[in-house]
């Protein structure tokens, strides 16, 4: 089956997610959809599967215009998908989740024998180790991902959309998936494959379409004519400029944050590091390596079960962010801007001032909006937050400006130790460079930064030293020479060494 997207546009409050995007999918082809976070890939997939409706443009199935008001309509037309969000019912069994679209019925009742038999058939194509009768909530993240793929396969769809299906599964499982995709392709299925891993795209895709900032950067190009270099340039954009970060002397200043053999309730073991004043210490690791969990533990979100944490040389136990900020001047910029970083329905002014209300309050614990505005204004200016007014609702700003606001509140709070988690996810290139320079600036002013990122170029641009985390342990430390080739190789070799010894 062939599927074409013609000139589709879609806006959300504050963002133009897709702008005149067209795409051609042919049966018997694997089509890679590439682009940075926030480029519009997921939105496009959601339009094809009837989750979102386009503001303009149309979808053609075998040349005929179609409209999918609901996911159900898209399913009925033979379009199946693995979305990025977890889409399983936690209390249902693996088998029932896989077969949920069309539970087999015998005599008016769900035939569970058939459910598990059928589910087994699809699951076996990927992984024989998962029992179809256990509840999904007991599975690991990787196992859930496998179940989701099996679920999409079970639809026997003519168009199959896979949005980052390999994000959290092993290489072995990825290989099994690829064998399967090639088989489906030979049966005439049109497949869209979204991934950030270039190796995977080169291994499996026939054609590639690249999105950048909601627009087409390259359309339907044959993979055989694509080079790695060109693909990256297309994704990142021509005007890419690497942030210039001033080199800082490392290790010379005093230690402000120190972990000694930390073990946590998340499963971290023997985590030790030292963060010096004015230093940017990188914490690199793949998804699931335990980076964000470590950050969370520093602020009381997890339990420290062993070892010790020291701030400014004194051992501490931090119970909450409230305590971390109030007592130790520590701040945390979350990777999840919308859920943890900002209060979307409140104004720019309130979002920045939230950390300093106590300081602004007068005798009766009252805060005058005017003094609040006065305190906030310098940061809005310094960070060049593009907003019509500081009273604008943050939810109406673009992703980049939202991120500036969530950084601004910690600058306003004069945090001395800042844990920054994936600072540029879903942010346009220009703002990204700006945020990199900003992080460099605040470090130069003496703020100590623990930078968590899975974005290798970002890490190499910013960090002074890089800790490599894998499987909830620190598996190595790399002195950053700010050269991509050498440092990235050094980092990956640390990870591979651990995987080999484990295997």
């Amino acid at each position: 089956m062939d599927l074409a997207i013609e000139n589709v546009s879609k806006s959300f409050p504050g963002v133009r997610a897709l702008d005149g995007v067209s795409l051609n999918l042919k049966g018997g082809e694997i089509h890679a959809l590439m682009g940075e976070n926030g480029a519009g890939k997921s939105t496009l997939i959601k339009i094809i599967t009837g989750v979102h409706r386009p503001d303009s443009g149309r979808v053609l199935l075998d040349g005929k215009p179609v409209e999918f008001p609901t996911p159900r309509a898209a399913l009925a037309a033979g379009i199946g998908a693995v979305h990025q969000e977890r889409n399983l019912i936690p209390r249902f069994s693996v088998g029932e989740n896989i077969m949920l679209e069309r539970l087999p019925v015998k005599g008016g009742l769900v035939d569970y024998e058939a459910v598990h038999r059928e589910a087994r058939r699809f699951l076996d194509m990927l992984d024989r180790g998962i029992d179809t009768r256990v509840e999904v909530r007991t599975l690991s993240v990787a196992q859930m991902q496998i179940v989701e793929i099996a679920k999409a396969l079970s639809l026997e769809a003519r168009v199959l959309l896979l949005d980052e299906p390999t994000a959290s599964i092993t290489e072995h499982e990825t290989a099994a998936l690829f064998t399967l995709l090639r088989k489906l392709k030979s049966e005439g299925v049109a497949i869209v494959f979204v991934s950030h891993k270039l190796e995977e795209v080169f291994a499996i895709a026939d054609r590639v379409t690249v999105l950048r900032d909601g627009r087409i950067a390259a359309a339907n190009e044959p993979m055989s004519e694509m080079t790695r270099q060109r693909l990256v340039t297309l994704m990142v954009g021509r005007e890419e400029r690497v942030a210039q970060i001033r080199a800082r002397p490392s290790g010379a200043s005093e230690v402000v944050l120190e972990a000694r053999g930390l073990a946590t309730s998340f499963g971290h073991r023997d985590v030790s590091f030292e963060l010096h004043r004015g230093e940017i210490l990188g914490l690199y690791g793949l998804v699931g390596a335990g980076r964000s969990e470590l950050a969370r533990t520093l602020f009381g979100g997890g339990e420290i079960t062993g070892g010790e944490l020291r701030v400014n040389g004194r051992p501490v136990r931090i119970a909450s962010m409230h305590e971390a900020l109030g007592r130790y001047r520590m701040g945390y910029i979350s990777e999840d801007r919308k859920q943890e970083g900002l209060i979307l329905m409140h104004s720019v002014r309130e979002n920045i001032a939230i950390t300093i209300w106590r300081k602004l309050a007068g005798a009766l614990g009252l805060v005058a909006p005017r003094s609040e505005a006065r305190a906030v204004m310098p940061f809005v200016k310094r960070l060049e937050v593009r907003t019509p007014s500081i009273n604008q609702t943050v939810g109406n700003l673009s992703g980049g400006n939202q991120q500036k606001v969530s950084i601004a509140k910690w600058l306003a709070a004069e945090a001395q130790i800042l844990v920054i988690d994936e600072p540029t996810v879903g942010i346009d290139i220009k703002t990204k460079t700006y945020i990199h320079e900003l992080i460099g600036e605040i470090a130069a002013e003496g703020v100590s930064v623990l930078l968590i990122s899975s974005d290798m170029p970002e890490m190499i641009t910013l960090a002074d030293r890089i800790l490599v985390m894998h499987g909830f342990r620190i598996v190595g430390e790399v002195e950053n020479d700010h050269r991509y080739e050498t440092t990235s190789k050094a980092i990956m070799s640390r990870i591979h060494r651990v995987e080999e010894t484990a295997a």
């Binding site: 909450s320 970083g341 209060i343 009252l366 805060v367 009273n391």
Partner: protein, 343 residues
């Protein structure tokens, strides 16, 4: 600093809950229409006697609405508002009649009990992580069950006469034709305090932040658990205040007066006034206007002698119409905004 000040002046003065403002505006219109209708059908509606009675009832409805509103601000709800109210009513009666304590002491005791019961709610919610609906549903029955066991549902009629006299007092505002109950003045003062609390105080701002997005608020150093407990304490305190006003109005402590009867009014005021159930946005003025609408309809139906039986139906329909209207206004505004953004 001059540039900063210029930029400040170019901006709207302060953040305004526009949704609440527009529903407040339409509420005023609806209220005026009802007043016009009732006084046209029955001039007695505007008699000084009826205005005084209406004001007394209004005062209590407002404070009951506030008791719910302060918990709605956190994104939770308090089904125990009525139960706490009735517990404090009976406690104050017990302190005054049985123990013979002076009135101010009895009132303080009752307020303290309200705050304590509210604290229990908040503590249980924060500790168990179970949603406030279930906790307060259970605690409502726990509280009123305990009250009934202890009082055997016997009303206390022998309160000091001063308290009833206070409830019946009239303060003539401008002319004797416009009598105001001191209860109403108390309710308005409470409203002003709450307005300042949520608009200008650190605590109030933190409550709203925690209500709008608890995770983000916690990540910004707001002690979310503490803020939720405080909100429930405040709710208990306000429920107790409403209870005390009721004792003054009736001149007696009745065990049957609150309970589930307060459930609907407690939600009517805030919801009609534009307070979000999802938390993070409240409207003090809206809640007062919502209560005024409810009291107006109740009083109007009474003077028209339609009878109390249909009142429930009207209140239910008004609530439905109000939330529907609000919804469609919201959708309309959103569409207009999107169209502007696209242009």
């Amino acid at each position: 600093m001059t540039t900063t000040d210029d930029a400040l002046d170019a901006m709207p003065k302060r953040g305004i809950n526009f949704a609440a403002m527009s529903s407040a505006l339409s509420l005023v219109v609806i209220i005026v229409v009802f007043w016009a209708f009732f006084s046209w059908r029955q001039p007695g509606f505007l008699s000084s006697f009826n205005l005084l009675t209406l004001g007394r009832a209004l005062a209590i409805d407002i404070v009951i609405g506030f008791a719910q509103m302060v918990v709605l601000a956190t994104g939770g709800m308090n089904l125990a508002v009525g139960a706490i109210g009735v517990c404090t009513v009976m406690t104050s009666g017990y302190l005054m009649q049985t123990l013979g304590l002076p009135i101010p002491v009895a009132i303080l005791g009752a307020l303290a009990l309200g705050a304590a019961l509210g604290w229990l709610n908040g503590f249980a919610i924060v500790r168990t992580g179970v949603n406030s609906f279930v906790i307060t549903l259970a605690s409502a029955n726990l509280f009123s069950g305990a009250m009934l066991i202890l009082t055997k549902a016997v009303p206390l009629n022998g309160l000091p006469p001063e308290i009833g006299a206070f409830g019946k007092m009239r303060i003539n505002l401008f002319t004797p034709a416009l009598p105001v109950s001191p209860l109403l003045i108390i309710a308005i003062v409470i409203g002003i305090v709450l307005f300042i609390l949520y608009r200008y105080s650190v605590l109030g701002r933190r409550i709203l932040a925690a209500g709008a997005n608890p995770r983000a608020a916690a990540m910004s150093g707001v002690p979310v658990d503490r803020v939720i407990v405080i909100s429930h304490v405040l709710s208990g305190l306000l429920a107790a205040a409403a209870g005390m006003m009721l004792v003054a109005r009736l001149g007696a402590a009745m065990p049957s007066v609150a309970g589930e009867d307060w459930l609907l009014p407690s939600f009517l005021g805030p919801v009609l006034g534009g307070t979000l159930l999802s938390g993070g946005a409240i409207s003090v003025v809206g809640t007062m206007l919502g209560a005024l609408l409810v009291t107006t309809i109740r009083s109007g139906l009474l003077v028209l002698q339609i009878g109390n039986f249909w009142l429930q139906l009207f209140l239910g329909l008004i609530l439905l119409v109000a939330v529907l209207a609000d919804r469609y206004r919201g959708i309309f505004a959103e569409r207009r905004r999107l169209r502007r953004a696209a242009a």
